[in-house]
Amino acid sequence: MTRTPAIEVVGLTKSFGDHQVLGGVDLRVPSGTIFALLGSNGAGKTTVVRILSTLLRADGGTAAVNGYDVATQPAKVRSSISLTGQFAAVDEVLTGRENLVLVAQLRHLTGPGGIADDLMERFELTDAGGRKVATYSGGMRRRLDIAMSLIGDPPVLFLDEPTTGLDPQSRLEVWATVQELAGGGTTVLLTTQYLDEAEQLAERIAILHEGRIIAEGTLAELKALFPPAKVEYVEKQPTLEEIFLSVVGHNGSDKVGTGR
């Protein structure tokens, strides 16, 4: 790999009072990949994302995004990223279209209306575009949230727990959206507490536990850390998710399921 990594973190530490949240995190995200930061609640995932998106200062260590140091060149970092936080960062009082126009205007882009219309079509929000976001479902809100983050084509995208709190169908919609991004060359750093989400979406996975990265690699590499697979015969039972989705007649599952 000769290209600069999209994200490079060395020895990152952060404490809140006496409570140490990050105890020396090292992370290297190659450009153009979907990278999952996997960890349980309180592992420090959001803290890492907040430091990388210049919302929080680290106590120690260095972090660079798109080649820019987050502590000394925060403005350059902000020009390179978009953050989709843990709670959908949308304006509930505005309509979906107004939200998109707002972000396009703040990024000083020409033709904000056209940009908004294109994104609404791409994210299947055209019909809802004139409605207040307060009336949107969780999945629609998230799609709008991600659409807002794509305005201005930032090379690095942070998705902090993009599917937490969503119902299974909305989760599949968001997965399909993220997989689509992968083709476009955007680097995505995704945090999640769901193992299947990391498995479905990410090319590389890092496991953050008690403020440290304890394992990192492709899914195949992580699997190799375990004893070789032994062959067992198990009757295949449908999972509750499969039952739920087939009963409610959702067809999005094959879109996502054939991904790998």
Binding site: L56, R57, R78, S82, L83, A88, V93, L102, H108
Partner: protein
């Protein structure tokens, strides 16, 4: 860069002005409550209040204008709190825009919305018989003082907007501000108040601000009250601005 800050502030101000226009609650509280107060004091209580010569509505209006602003800035704090507690504040902060524009957008909205409320209240007062012999310069001075009061109280409102943990905490801070005019010369002359209350009423900022506006509108000489009023506003503005910016920076610690 400065033109960028200005353009971003304008975009963000338009956004929060939309919030004002789409919130009936905000419009009712900030314009109708002061109007109800005008009606109540002029037509119910006013007959029993003696303010020397002149009509009571002329005497009352400046104080009601201050109450209008005090209840208006509570909504500024609430709008800021809603941004902070949702995700949109962090989105703005992680975008390549001037961070000061995020606060200035709310401040500019506060000034515009409060001036509109004030204009509506003045129009109602005119319909109730308020008349002023003030010239253009005096009116400009009144507008200037009201803008200064709005700016000072808005920056004060930014502090709970950024720091509060709950929506109740945000709105709670404005109660003393709405109440303060009652212990001043806003509704009744301070002369009839008992000693310590009278001392407080005469030395708190509302009295000098209200007296200044009242004298300007009545085309009377303002005297050194005017300078005291401006000093209070500028002093409060400076302190509130410094504290608000400190609170803002602390959010990034």
């Amino acid at each position: 860069m400065t033109t960028d800050v200005f353009a971003e502030t304008v975009v963000l101000s338009k956004r929060s002005l939309r919030h004002v226009l789409r919130s009936p609650d905000t419009i009712v509280t900030t314009a109708l409550t002061p109007i109800a107060m005008l009606l109540l004091f002029v037509y119910v209580l006013g007959g029993a209040i003696h303010v020397g010569g002149g009509k009571y509505v002329d005497y009352l209006l400046p104080g009601v204008l201050l109450i209008t602003i005090a209840s208006g800035i509570a909504y500024t704090a609430l709008r800021l709190f809603t941004d902070v507690s949702g995700g949109i504040f962090e989105r703005f902060q992680s975008m390549p825009i001037a961070r000061s524009a995020i606060l200035w957008g709310h401040v500019a909205t506060s000034v515009v919305a409060n001036l509109v409320s004030v204009a509506v209240v003045v129009a109602v007062a005119v319909a109730m018989g308020f008349r002023s012999g003030a010239g253009v310069l005096a009116w400009l001075a009144v507008a200037g003082i009201l803008v200064l009061v709005t700016l000072a109280l808005t920056w004060l409102a930014v502090i709970p907007g950024l720091a509060a943990k709950s929506a109740d905490g945000v709105s709670g801070f404005s109660y003393p501000l709405v109440f303060l005019p009652f212990i001043s010369s806003a509704f009744v002359p301070t002369g009839g108040m008992p000693g310590p209350v009278r001392w407080f009423a005469r030395h708190q900022p509302v009295t000098s601000i209200v007296d200044t506006i009242r004298n300007l509108l009545a085309a009377h000489p303002v005297g050194h009250d005017g300078w005291i009023a401006v000093a209070w506003c500028v002093g409060l503005l400076a302190v509130a601005y410094v504290l608000a910016m400190r609170t803002y920076r602390r959010k990034l610690a």
